[in-house]
């Protein structure tokens, strides 16, 4: 067992060496990790409840502006709720939604991609034409269609965005499978009777993991962005849930008088998505053997 641990530690260190060369990626990882910590510690660190209303203290500015106070560090919204608390709880919602979307779309997309690539022929044609149909619509438009069919709400928004994210996983995995299934270890597995499902999931899938992990981080940021967009349009998560997209859309009428109400949730979305993208890019470079020196 010792040999294995040494090998594992070694490959982790090697990975970190490559990854940390990319300063942007490290910054991205830092951003993402801080939002994860915020989300986990939300019950402890948020000063107030997410829907706690303070009558008479509507649209107070953040502490650094005139009229702001440290009682509400980032001010209050149009209903007198603490913005900072809502943003912190919102991190929980956004990350939960993002992870659920990626979880669903990865499982479905990967399985479809494995089947299309490995079986080929008619299976491939049927699956890939279905994927083409999904891709023919702009993703946000398709998500809107799905939500308008099954109705708004957190779960439905997750389902809608997950469906929209399936194609990228399927195409990526399929391309990988087409390459890997020609390798000799796949043929070797057939010579001692490994069935197609065993070959797909135990021989081929582990070899797709590097690209899949990268796609997962990028899919996470897209998922969060799409959910925020749905929320902004009033089709996703419903008020009073402190979701960043709804906070944006609720604050729209006050964009001139209380600009922090739109700016702050917007900045949060920006930071998470930027962080995930930087992190994903860094991961891709660090895991790609072709880019290694």
């Amino acid at each position: 067992m010792q040999v294995e641990e040494v090998g594992f530690k070694h490959s982790v260190r090697e990975f970190w060496d490559h990854f940390s060369d990319n300063k942007g990626a490290v910054f991205g990882l830092f951003l993402v990790l801080s939002f994860i910590v915020l989300a986990i510690l939300a019950p402890v660190i948020s000063p107030y409840g997410s829907s706690e209303i303070f009558p008479g203290q509507l649209r107070l500015p953040p502490f650094w502006s005139e009229g702001g106070s440290f009682q509400f560090i980032l001010g209050t919204d149009d209903l007198g709720r603490d913005v900072l608390s809502r943003l912190i709880w919102g991190a929980q919602i956004s990350l939960f939604v993002g992870v659920s979307i990626v979880f669903l779309s990865t499982i479905i997309g990967t399985t479809l991609g494995l089947m299309a690539g490995y079986f080929g022929g008619k299976t491939d044609i049927v699956i890939m034409r279905f994927i083409d149909i999904l891709m023919a619509y702009p993703s946000i438009l398709l998500a809107i269609i799905v939500v308008s069919v099954i109705g708004p709400g957190v779960t439905n928004a997750i389902i809608a965005v997950a469906i929209v994210s399936i194609p990228s996983f399927t195409r990526l995995v399929r391309a990988n499978v087409l390459e890997i299934k020609e390798r000799q270890f796949v043929m070797a597995a057939k010579t001692f009777g490994a069935g197609p499902w065993r070959i797909m999931f135990k021989e081929i899938l582990p070899n797709c993991m590097a690209t899949l992990i990268v796609q997962t981080t990028l899919g996470l940021s897209e998922g969060i962005l799409s959910t925020a967009a749905l929320g902004f349009l009033g089709l996703g998560v419903q008020a009073p849930t402190p979701e960043w997209g709804i906070m944006l859309s609720d604050a729209r009428p006050y964009i001139e008088s209380s600009p922090w109400l739109v700016t702050l949730p917007g900045l949060c979305i920006l930071a998470v998505v930027l962080g995930l993208n930087l992190f994903g890019d860094g991961l891709r470079d660090a895991l790609d053997p072709k880019l290694k020196r």
């Binding site: 270890f185 010579t191 001692f192």
Partner: protein, 313 residues
């Protein structure tokens, strides 16, 4: 037939040509041989002659078009897959490519066992480690990944994997061609030892004549899917009948005989397209000794002094 022999009769494998229902690429045409226990059959020929198709067809990776394969008088057609796997296993050419890079050594070796019988993981690990010792690897390395081994060690892993089901016949598809010359000898000697200990039969596919000369008891020379010459290895090497065998021996620089050294050059160095095989004897387009009748008459495989030769001359 002799007990525990592998008997292959008139094996054919035709691939249909796209866009035509009557044209076929005849990758294997009327290949027959007998492989008694504890012997090695060397199969030689240039690329595209059907060596690998023969390996794949024997392993059941490709369905045969015609012919029979039987072991110990039991036809492969009536055998369960499990029994087939326990009869014949295969070692691949490229040891790095034939081992899954994401699996540990013991998982790779134990895979055939885990798929084909109900053993616990602990038992499988134990069996894999025993086999690692048998092929000259340290059992402590059982939790390493393939890329942590050297080329020769990887091929030992491949051999261990092929042995775990206790097969009677091993197909060795160019098992040493991807290795350094110094390592080649170690692997060949390991294979010889294993053959002696376990009474294995080998089908040894190679394009390296000196390696085949070292390993093989019998030798089969193939040309465009057909048997050119088949017989006892020493006899074929010392006194080849078929002009193609002579050409191979000459290009391999391993024969001392004056007849081989002075054998005329091939007319063309290019292998004819298997899509449009030449009429008559397939070798006549290149054969320096070809006569008019070779262009039209297909030579049958004939027995001549305990040897099969397909040549009109």
């Amino acid at each position: 037939m002799t007990a525990n022999s592998l008997l292959v009769q008139n094996l054919k494998k035709f691939y249909p040509v796209k866009g035509s229902s009557e044209k076929f690429v005849k990758a294997l045409n009327d290949v027959s041989f007998t492989l008694p226990p504890n012997t090695t059959l060397g199969i030689v020929g240039e690329s595209g002659c059907g060596k690998s198709t023969l390996a794949k067809t024997l392993m059941g990776l490709e369905d045969k078009t015609h012919g029979s394969i039987s072991f110990n008088d039991n036809s492969f057609d009536n055998m369960s897959n499990k029994v087939k796997y326990e009869t014949m296993q295969m070692v691949f050419q490229d040891p790095l490519d034939s081992l899954n890079p994401r699996k540990k050594a013991w998982e790779i070796i134990a895979d055939p066992l885990l798929i084909n019988s109900k053993v616990s993981k602990t038992e499988a690990l134990k069996k894999a480690q025993e086999l690692m010792a048998k092929v000259g690897l340290r059992p402590e390395q059982s939790h390493k990944y393939p890329h942590m081994f050297s080329g020769g060690q990887r091929q030992r892993l491949g051999i261990a994997r092929a042995l775990i089901l206790n097969p009677k016949v091993l197909i060795l598809d160019e098992p040493v061609s991807a290795l350094d010359v110094s390592v080649q000898a170690q692997i060949l000697n390991l294979l010889k030892e294993l053959q002696k200990d376990l009474g294995l039969s080998y089908i040894f596919i190679s394009h390296d004549l000196s390696v085949v000369n070292y390993m093989a008891d019998d030798i089969m020379v193939m040309y465009l899917g057909r048997v050119a010459e088949y017989g006892n290895a020493d006899k074929v090497f010392n006194n080849p009948y078929h002009p193609y065998t002579k050409t191979l021996l000459k290009s391999g620089h391993i024969s001392q005989s004056e007849e081989i050294k002075s054998f005329p050059k091939l007319i063309s160095s290019e292998l004819p397209s298997p899509l449009n095989p030449p009429t008559g004897c397939a070798f006549h387009t290149r054969c320096p000794l070809a006569k008019d009748e070779c262009h039209s008459i297909l030579p049958e495989v004939e027995s001549k002094n305990e040897r099969s030769v397909s040549c009109l001359l």
